[in-house]
Amino acid sequence: MQTTQTEIISRVRSFIQENFLYMHSDFQLADDDRLLEKGVMDSMSIVEMISFIENEFGVQAMEDEISEANFGSLTGIARYIGDKRGVLAS
């Protein structure tokens, strides 16, 4: 079944809110917010999030793909997963 970008963003946002924003219940995370810059996560949290993404969306992140562009924001993550799954499907 095809997962839309909106669904990916929604599931990753839920994961981040539950695990990294529990101390900021009123924080509104925008799709383009830079997760590190906004203080939402630290680098170890990003590692945890990558594990979640790998399990949840069935993708395998290569070392050289773990970058600000791919994992630095919800939009970047959704684009990365979309591209990756497209590659997998082809």
Partner: protein, 657 residues
């Protein structure tokens, strides 16, 4: 080493209460288990608990001069006391003991406050001068020995530890939100601030004179970095002389002096020099960890074998941290962001149980000779910022922090964290990553507590406090100064140093913190200390004379201890759940109960792996314990009775017992 406490009142209200002084002394009895004494004057009262190290038979305190007009209570060691004694004897002073305490008494008579410039040592003392009704307090240059004070209602209370002041029953315990905010930024409040409202820490290198209800403070020693352009030709010979003299002076004692041994360069140097110069076979002491990520025991054994010491270890197991944490907080008197104090507490206990009262340790070398990774980090960050976007330059961070960059899969994010921490023009540039990372615990503040801090920005206050000469120093010397002034005295020498050793009546001595050695090191070109990414370069060159090659060449391993997971296992003590419950968090009011609930949930699921949450766990737990120990209940100790004192003096110079 000892503990001191006292009270001075503006108006005479009759003899000071020996019962009050007895409570103050009892609260810090661990600092001086070998004896105690009191001075009970009309306006001033002193207490002293003694760890006898020099002139064991005759060194009881408080002590007076011949006519009883000068009274002292003193904690510390004056290493050059024999030299000062000769000088004072030549000036006509007559001594009754061999103690350094008496040198301070006569030195004050002779030179007044200018005595301080002549002292080489680690000390905190109070001198009551009955001639002019003043109390003179002072603390050593680098803050090895602590001294706290409070001034409620025109009176003056002081003590080696805050609990002595609180035990008087006359000073209220309250939270200073700004002091707490400093703890959660710098890892410790910066003197004079403490986490306690109305209780101050005397700054290192500072003295005060209390008279008629007012305290006048003045600094007698300033840190400076008059960096030379070139290394002197005789740098190794001068370093050799300074190191040998510093260690030699710190072996002066009437009891055997042992050594702490981490397995790193600095403690290996002090242990090696001590073994060579000591009249006894050196006893050395180390911490080992069950967890191999923290353990350095191979290196410790190698050094112990090389110097020929009788070596003992204390092993830190899975439950050691959590089991001892409440006791450790009782001694630190401040919340912590790390657990590294706990193994030091066990190490001091091992030392005491082995019959040793005094140890040499290697603290100070990293500050003087640019040993910490933070200094390399400054070099690399500046190098990267000179050509932003250079992937090759940024990869230098990988060499610096291989664990973070290449093993955690988050390397790119860590690189951005360090490189985006702040601009080079910020005077705190060197420390911004640490301060910003530490401050993440503030995400867990309760809204009401955050509001209580008001608009105070402790980093802005630090910037404003920097001396004018700071802005003329190189970036590495700026970093060294910040390290000395924000962390050394307030945290390393305190929570990991004095408090842990004195919890078991152990005196730490620090050869690298000899002020002559500091002045020598601070005048060297920074390139002599940090060459490329090789730290303590000149120290290594010199140490090649005395250490095994493997130790001399060893890269510094940061001293760390197990953190958050220590508190959440099957054998987790009950107090942890009690102190982290929603009710307990709300009662203390510093952190948000819902945020802590989320953190505990993640801890219990074993998902806390990052710095932010690890620090938060330690910070929140330690704050809850700190509050429990000091704010929620009064210090309740039975006073040390005058009948058991080795000396009780009054204004008539009568020795009452």
């Amino acid at each position: 080493m000892c503990g001191i406490a006292g009270i001075a009142r503006r108006h005479s209200t009759g003899p000071s209460s020996v019962e009050t002084l007895g409570r103050m002394a009892a609260a810090i009895r661990h600092r001086g288990p070998d004896g105690y004494g009191f001075y009970v004057g009309q306006r001033v009262g002193f207490a002293h608990v003694r760890l006898s190290i020099v002139d064991i038979a005759a060194g009881s305190q408080p002590m007076t001069n011949e006519d009883g007009q000068i009274v002292i209570t003193y904690n510390g060691e004056i290493y050059n006391h024999p030299e000062l004694r000769h000088e004072l004897e030549a000036l006509g002073h007559v001594f009754r003991t061999r103690c350094d305490t008496e040198v301070l008494v006569h030195g004050y008579e002779q030179w007044g406050v200018n005595l301080l410039q002549r002292l080489n040592g680690q000390f905190a003392f109070a001198i009551y001068d009955r001639n002019n009704e003043t109390v003179f307090i002072a603390r050593d240059r680098f803050g090895v020995r602590p001294l706290f004070y409070a001034q409620p209602r025109d009176a003056f209370y002081f003590g080696s530890e805050i609990k002595a002041i609180l035990a008087s029953g006359e000073v209220d315990a309250g939270i200073d939100p700004r002091g707490m905010d400093e703890v959660f930024t710098f890892w410790a409040a910066r003197a004079p601030r403490t986490p306690f409202a109305g209780i101050a820490s005397l700054e290192p290198g500072t003295y005060g004179i209390w008279k008629d209800g007012a305290l006048w403070l003045r600094r007698y020693y300033e840190l400076d970095y008059p960096e030379a352009n070139a290394e002197p030709d005789d740098v190794i010979e001068r370093l050799d002389e300074l190191m040998l003299r510093s260690v030699g002076m710190r072996l002066r004692a009437d009891v055997p002096v042992g050594a702490y041994l981490s397995g790193g360069l600095d403690s290996s140097i002090t242990a090696s020099l001590a073994a060579s110069a000591s009249p006894h076979i050196l006893r050395s002491f180390s911490i080992t960890f069950d967890d191999p990520r923290f353990d350095e025991s191979d290196f410790q054994r190698e050094v112990a074998s090389d110097v020929g010491s009788i070596h003992a270890i204390t092993a830190i197991g899975p439950n050691s941290i959590a089991d001892s944490f409440p006791d450790v907080l009782w001694h630190t008197e401040t919340p912590l962001l790390r657990t590294a104090a706990v193994p030091m507490y066990h190490l001091a206990k091992l030392t005491r149980d082995s019959g040793i009262k005094v140890v040499l340790t290697g603290e100070g070398a990293d500050e003087l000779f640019l040993g910490y990774d933070l200094f390399k980090e400054v070099q690399v960050r500046e190098f990267c910022l000179r050509r932003p976007g250079s992937a090759w330059r940024e990869r230098l961070l990988d060499r610096l922090y291989p664990d973070l960059m290449t093993q955690s899969r988050g390397g790119e994010f860590w690189r951005r964290f360090f490189l985006d921490a702040g601009p080079q023009r910020d005077p705190l540039f060197s420390h911004l990553p640490r301060f910003l990372l530490g401050a993440r615990i503030k995400d867990f503040y309760a809204p009401e507590f955050r509001a209580g801090i008001g608009g105070i920005n402790v980093m802005a206050e630090l910037r404003a406090s920097l001396p004018a000469r700071f802005f003329g120093w190189s970036s590495l010397n700026k970093a060294a100064y910040l390290e000395m002034t924000t962390l050394l005295a307030s945290y390393l020498l305190s929570s990991q140093g004095d408090r842990m050793s004195m919890a078991h009546g152990i005196e730490g001595r620090f050869p690298f913190l000899d002020h002559r050695l500091y002045e020598f090191a601070s005048s060297l070109p920074t390139g002599s200390k940090l060459r490329g990414l090789k730290e303590k370069e000149v120290l290594r060159r010199w140490a090649a004379r005395i250490l095994p090659a493997r130790i001399k060449a060893r890269t510094k391993q940061p001293y760390r201890a197990p953190d958050a997971p220590s508190f959440f296992g099957p054998a987790s003590p009950k107090w942890i759940g009690d102190h982290l419950s929603g009710d307990a968090i709300r009662r203390v009011g510093i952190f948000s109960a819902s945020a802590v609930e989320g953190l505990v949930r993640r801890c219990q699921a074993g998902r806390v792996t990052g710095y932010r949450e690890n620090q938060a766990v330690i910070g929140i737990l330690s704050t809850q314990l700190w509050h429990h120990h000091f704010i929620e209940k009064a210090i309740n100790v039975a006073p040390l009775p005058p009948q058991g004192a080795s000396v009780v003096l009054d204004d008539s110079m009568s020795v009452l017992t």
